[in-house]
């Protein structure tokens, strides 16, 4: 019987010929990612209790991103503790204040097709864009992995989502995610794998694929995954990831899927999720031009270089509304540097954006300029749970970088296609 891509990777990691959904297997981890929040401060005491060192410092990638920007003493001490742990444990892959883990990992060439990767963060499915099986775990699970290099999983079934056609200009992967959240709900994928396939994948950049896989977390999936292709190879070559192709990292024709869905990309409109769940998604045209106080372009989901380019497409030569704030938090320092080199930074600054240091920023609700009482925010991030980004009375809508940028200009939730159309007419 054929195997899905996810099953093939799990079988390899479990040193088995094949696996079937529902089986419980112990897998060897190729790479473990931890960050400042769930990492050293939580894992070190567990290792101490067990009386062991990390199983392999070279298979660990440590990223400081959550307590960033560190403006208070506790956050600073958590970052200091993270640095100390990296030094003591000789972690050479330590990315300190270089951006958000899910974006830094691929940028530094850590992810390659066929890898079995555990990430100490719920948006770890992002790595599935590279044909990895990468899933999120909590700190205790991670403590076990750090000690032994292995972890158990119950083999998940796979749900296949075929994307057909191509997105209209002004519509992006984020809109696909939100449409799926609206259609399937936050429990739609019950800790299963969501595999994206279909002829629509070819036209999506690696960053767009990362966004797609990232928000499978909001479908309740264990992870998302996309088979590698030429676009993957080009990206890996560019970042020096040393992957020469090879390996049969795609689903067999006879693989069995739990469910099969299709989405017509040509017909997809920009989507917006109303407070307080990504499942409250609907076309932007249904959102009744809701007023916003703040526009937020940040997070692993919505502030990669390509996301910032989308925002700049809209904001070029424009100014944001006088009573609206636009915060831009590039997902990595590398993305920030590239925006400076290619003019994107100037476009966004001229439009009135305030830049904040790369990191999770207010997306995690940990530190920084959090939302105040009753403040309404439109955000490119993944989650709009009540109170996540600040006060319990604040409200967060979710949308793509295009939609957030267009809405910042008007001060109300706005269809970005109107701006792109106007630009086309003018040129």
């Amino acid at each position: 019987m054929g195997q899905t891509l996810a099953e093939k990777i799990i079988a390899r990691a479990a040193r088995r010929k094949s696996v079937s959904p529902g089986e419980i297997v112990t897998c060897q981890v190729d790479l473990a990612m931890i960050h400042d929040s769930g990492g050293p401060r939580r894992v070190a005491p567990l290792l101490k209790r067990l009386g062991v060192d990390v199983w392999d410092p070279d298979k660990i990638v440590l990223v400081s991103d959550h307590f960033v920007p560190a403006e208070d003493e506790i956050s600073k001490s958590i970052l200091a503790q993270t640095r100390d742990w990296a030094r003591i444990n000789a972690i050479k892959n330590f990315h300190d204040l270089e951006g958000i883990c899910h974006v830094v990992l691929p940028e530094r060439g850590h992810l390659k097709p066929g890898m079995f990767v555990a990430g100490g963060d719920s948006h770890s499915p992002t790595g599935g864009a590279f044909g990895c099986f990468m899933f999120g775990v909590g700190a205790t699970d991670m403590g076990g992995i750090m000690a032994t290099g292995e972890t158990w999983i119950r083999v998940p079934a796979t749900i296949r989502i075929d994307l057909d056609g191509e997105l209209e200009k002004g519509v992006s992967a984020k809109d696909i995610n939100l449409a799926l959240c609206g259609r399937l709900g936050m429990g739609g994928a019950k800790y299963q794998v969501v595999e994206f396939s279909g002829n629509g994948i070819a036209s999506l950049s690696m960053e767009e694929r990362m966004t797609l896989c990232n928000m499978t977390a909001e479908l309740g999936a264990m992870t998302g995954i996309i088979a590698p292709d030429d676009v993957t190879q080009t990206y890996l070559d560019r970042v020096g990831a040393d992957w020469a192709g090879g390996g049969d990292w795609r689903s067999d024709p006879g693989a069995s899927y739990l469910e099969h869905h299709r989405l017509d990309l040509n017909a997809l409109e920009p989507q917006v999720a109303a407070p307080h769940s990504p499942a409250n998604a609907a076309p932007v045209t249904n959102m009744g031009n809701a007023r916003i106080d703040r526009a937020y372009i940040g997070g692993c989901t919505g502030a990669k270089l390509g996301d910032l380019h989308m925002a700049a497409d809209i904001l070029k030569g424009k100014k944001i509304a006088p009573d609206t704030r636009l915060m831009v938090v590039p997902a990595s320092t590398r993305a920030l540097a590239e925006t400076k080199a290619d003019g994107t930074h100037a476009i966004l600054s001229d439009a009135g954006a305030t830049f904040v240091a790369s990191g999770c920023g207010i997306c995690a609700g940990y530190v920084g300029d959090l939302l105040g009482e009753n403040e309404v925010c439109l955000s490119t991030t993944a989650r709009n749970f009540q109170g996540r980004m600040g006060a319990a009375s604040s409200e967060v809508y979710l949308a793509s970088p295009y939609t957030v940028a267009a809405s910042a200009i008007i001060g109300r939730i706005t269809d970005p296609r109107e701006f792109l159309k106007a630009q086309d007419d003018a040129s």
Binding site: R42, V52, G136, V137, M186, G187, G220, A364
Partner: protein, 174 residues
Amino acid sequence: MPPDNRSLTGKAWVFGDEVNTDVLAPGQYMSGSIPNLAKHCLESVDPDFAANVRTGDIVVAGENFGVGSSREQAVEVLRALGVSAVVAKTFGGIFFRNAYNLGLYAIVCGEADQIQPGDILSVNAAAGKITVSSRKLALTCDPVPAFLLEMAEQGGLIAGLEARLSARGGKNST
């Protein structure tokens, strides 16, 4: 140590669908201690919960309990407040793993919506049964697989590993 799974008995606190990790462990308090974070557990949906929940009480909810972040403080605050088990129609996948890793019983019960606030529940995790004797109610749940029961009974993943590593003399600390 968690209570014996054969005698999990406690008062029900009932919540709705999609109680997420930001509601259980709000980000603004994540840099602080567990006891402090626990004071804010569920405050945005029930401001009285943290102050009034008692040791052995059971949290009951609908679909997708613990959806969201991988932060296992969402489990730890419930344990810190004395909650012995969460009974829900379905769980977020990471929360479910975290729960057993930390010795909190997560019981999948498709009939959880029949439970009312204040009901005294007796949960048999291995058999997949909940009884509410005062209302002569017997609910069917998914039996908890043996390996998870064992993990919870041992006190979680790390306690189990501790036993395994010392059995093979694997401690290598200086």
